[in-house]
Amino acid sequence: MRLLVIEDEAKTGDYLYKGLTEAGFQVVLARNGLDGHHLAMTETFDLVILDVMLPDVDGWRIVKSLREANHTTPVLFLTARDSVDDRVKGLELGADDYLVKPFAFAELLARVRTLLRRGLPIAAVEHLEIADLVLDLPRRRVTRSGKRINLTNREFSLLELLVRRQGEVLPRSLIASQVWDMNFDSDTNVIDVAIRRLRMKIDEPYKPKLIHTVRGMGYQLDIMNED
């Protein structure tokens, strides 16, 4: 997956480059609007991440040019101004998602993956499997090692999210938003508690452990070779 990052702030640019590269993406970094505009228009990327406040060619122009040239590349814009107008403007111009600075890197990563997945045909599967864990989607049933595990409705949704995005670190905010439709930060560790309970049901008595805490980032479901 090839990403274009247009960011004029030196440190942010460096860290985005480093973080996204380490997350397995091929990243091209443009440090000003002019280069970014040129790259976006002449090369092919799977996703463009751009800062809207660039000193020369601003982010809005780049989105506009892209859309006018009928490029459907998803665009995620970063903004430091959390005003409704900005967000509406960005989305109207054809951007696909936005993040307001300061944002968590885990959040950015999750959004990037969501955008990249968008448009891909969703496999109409009835069963999701990982290790010996099986989710029966139509009946909302879970078994591990052939044993039926009783989950509440929300626990099932949470597990489904984790399994569908296997290997991705999901930040708490994303989990809250996807599972409970809570689109704001709250002062609680609700997600941690919910994950702990889910773990007790599906991981505690079994091996390998599937749900992992990525400290400071979020949660991840994957088969790890640690044990």
Binding site: D82, R154, M182, F184, D185, D187, T188
Partner: protein, 480 residues
């Protein structure tokens, strides 16, 4: 056109009033002058006419010999003494052929008989005025009707009087009149101009007071009781403008102060931690631990900044709620479901009773407000207790009350708990305490305000109740 118009608009009020008063008054004075002058003229005309009538009658009697005092005298003598007691009066008698029968010394009256047709009566409209030498005369000619005596038929009598005395008087009077009117006009204009200036004094005074109001002295107000009634409205609206400015200024100042204060502690912690950490070689696990700890602090700061920005936007009225039908009960049940794992772990339960019709509100905002209130209640509830949520409604409002059992909020804190960064438990103020920013209830109040609702809190007998009243209809109230 536009320029000249704006030029006209800029003419001073004093000039406007002076010019208007001036024009009006000058017109009046001019008319008054003309009326007085023409009356005086007419008065003298009538006086002259009267005098000439008397003289003419005397001459007529003398000519006829009716004068009882000189019955024997001939016509010359009779006429010579015909008039007595009148100064500057001239007369002459002409026979039917125009020859002079008698003429007093003075102006040539034959001139009159040549130009004026004789009348029977002396009338002011038939007086004739002319100058001879340096003297101006006024006179007329009458036919001498003899009645039964035909001796004098065709005779004419010319009478005239010198007008110099009158003219002098009139001239003098006119001079004085216009001088007086001129002076009065000037005085009136001056007074008008001064009056306007004087009337503007309160304005100047106000302007002077206004110029003393600087950003540091926004608490100053103009006193409406010290200005003329006409200006009370101006002063009041100015005061309310300053009031609004003071409020925004205060908010801005508080915002900056709050941010600075709340960021100082975590930044000090972070700096110290990193500096101490770098002080000596450590093993990787320790570095990682340090970075995790920093990360938590950063996240807390980021959350706080986001909350502060949200509040700032709400203060500035730039938040745009999208109103839709929201069923409070459904929302609460969903929130309880979301929080259930956490509350269970804390040994508390949430329970909703009652119902209410859907209200018009911003769903995301209301969820946020309710979440903040619920988590607040859970945080302060005793273990093993139930947090009671009660729903009710009347025709206009939805009433939501959230009640928890636990330590009371001290009475002196009650009015302040909706203030940003207000913490009842001062020890919580230390950074990194569970990630709570101290803005939760401030955000709640903002959201309730946006919906045109009210919120209040009571806390006694270990029972703390938050009561929200939300209008059923979308408020459409501008956010202050």
């Amino acid at each position: 056109m536009k320029i000249s118009f704006s030029g006209l608009q800029r003419i001073s009020l004093a000039a406007r009033v002076t010019v208007l008063v001036g024009i009006t008054f000058l017109t009046c004075v001019l008319m008054l002058g003309i009326i007085v002058q023409s009356s005086i003229d007419r008065h003298f005309l009538e006086q002259d006419a009267g005098e000439l009538k008397v003289v003419a009658a005397a001459v007529l009697r003398a000519a006829r010999g009716d004068n009882p005092f000189s019955p024997g005298a001939d016509i010359q003598q009779r006429l010579e003494y015909a008039v007595s007691g009148h100064h500057g009066v001239y007369y002459a008698v002409y026979d039917d052929l125009g020859r002079t029968v008698f003429s007093t010394p003075g102006p040539t009256l034959s001139y009159l008989t040549d130009t004026v047709d004789p009348a029977n009566q002396i009338h002011i409209t038939e007086l004739y005025q002319w100058s001879e030498g340096e003297t101006t005369y006024r006179g007329t000619v009458i036919a001498m009707e003899g009645g039964d005596n035909t001796t004098f038929s065709g005779y004419k009598i010319a009478v005239a009087s010198s007008m110099d005395f009158h003219l002098e008087f009139i001239e003098d009077f006119r001079r004085k009149l216009w001088l007086m009117l001129g002076c009065t006009s000037a005085l009136i204009l001056l007074t008008a101009w001064y009056a306007v200036h004087f009337a503007h004094n309160p304005l100047h005074q106000i302007s002077k007071e206004i110029s003393t109001i600087t950003t540091e002295k926004l608490n100053l107000r103009l006193k409406p009781e010290n200005v003329p009634v006409d200006l009370v409205e101006l002063v009041t609206s100015f005061n309310s403008l300053i009031g609004r400015m003071e409020e925004s200024f205060q908010r801005l100042a508080n915002f900056s102060a709050d941010i600075a204060h709340e960021l100082r502690t975590p930044i000090t912690n972070l700096t110290t931690q990193v500096q101490v950490g770098l002080n000596k070689e450590r093993d990787p696990a320790e570095y990682r631990e340090m970075m995790y700890s920093n990360l938590e602090e950063y996240e807390r700061m980021a959350r706080m900044i986001n909350d502060m920005l949200w509040l700032a936007q709400s203060d500035n009225g730039t938040l745009r709620p999208t109103f839709q039908a929201v069923d409070a009960r459904t929302e609460l049940l969903e929130l309880i479901d979301y929080l259930s794992a956490w509350t269970e772990e804390r040994g508390t339960t949430l329970s909703v009773e009652g119902a209410c019709p859907p209200l018009k509100g911003d769903r995301v905002m209301l969820r946020r407000a309710l979440t903040n209130l619920l988590t607040n209640a859970v945080h302060h509830a005793d273990t093993g207790t139930t947090i009671q949520i009660h729903l009710a409604a009347d025709e206009r409002f939805v009433l939501i009350s959230i009640e928890n059992l636990g330590d009371e909020i001290p009475a002196d804190h009650l009015p302040k708990i909706f203030n940003r960064f207000h913490r009842v438990d001062a020890s919580r103020q230390s950074a990194g305490s569970g990630g709570r920013t101290g803005l939760g209830l401030a955000i709640v109040r903002s959201i309730i305000d946006i919906h045109g609702g009210t919120i209040n809190v009571t806390s006694q007998d270990r029972r703390t109740v938050f009561q929200i009243q939300l209008p059923l209809d979308s408020p459409r109230v501008a956010i202050p």
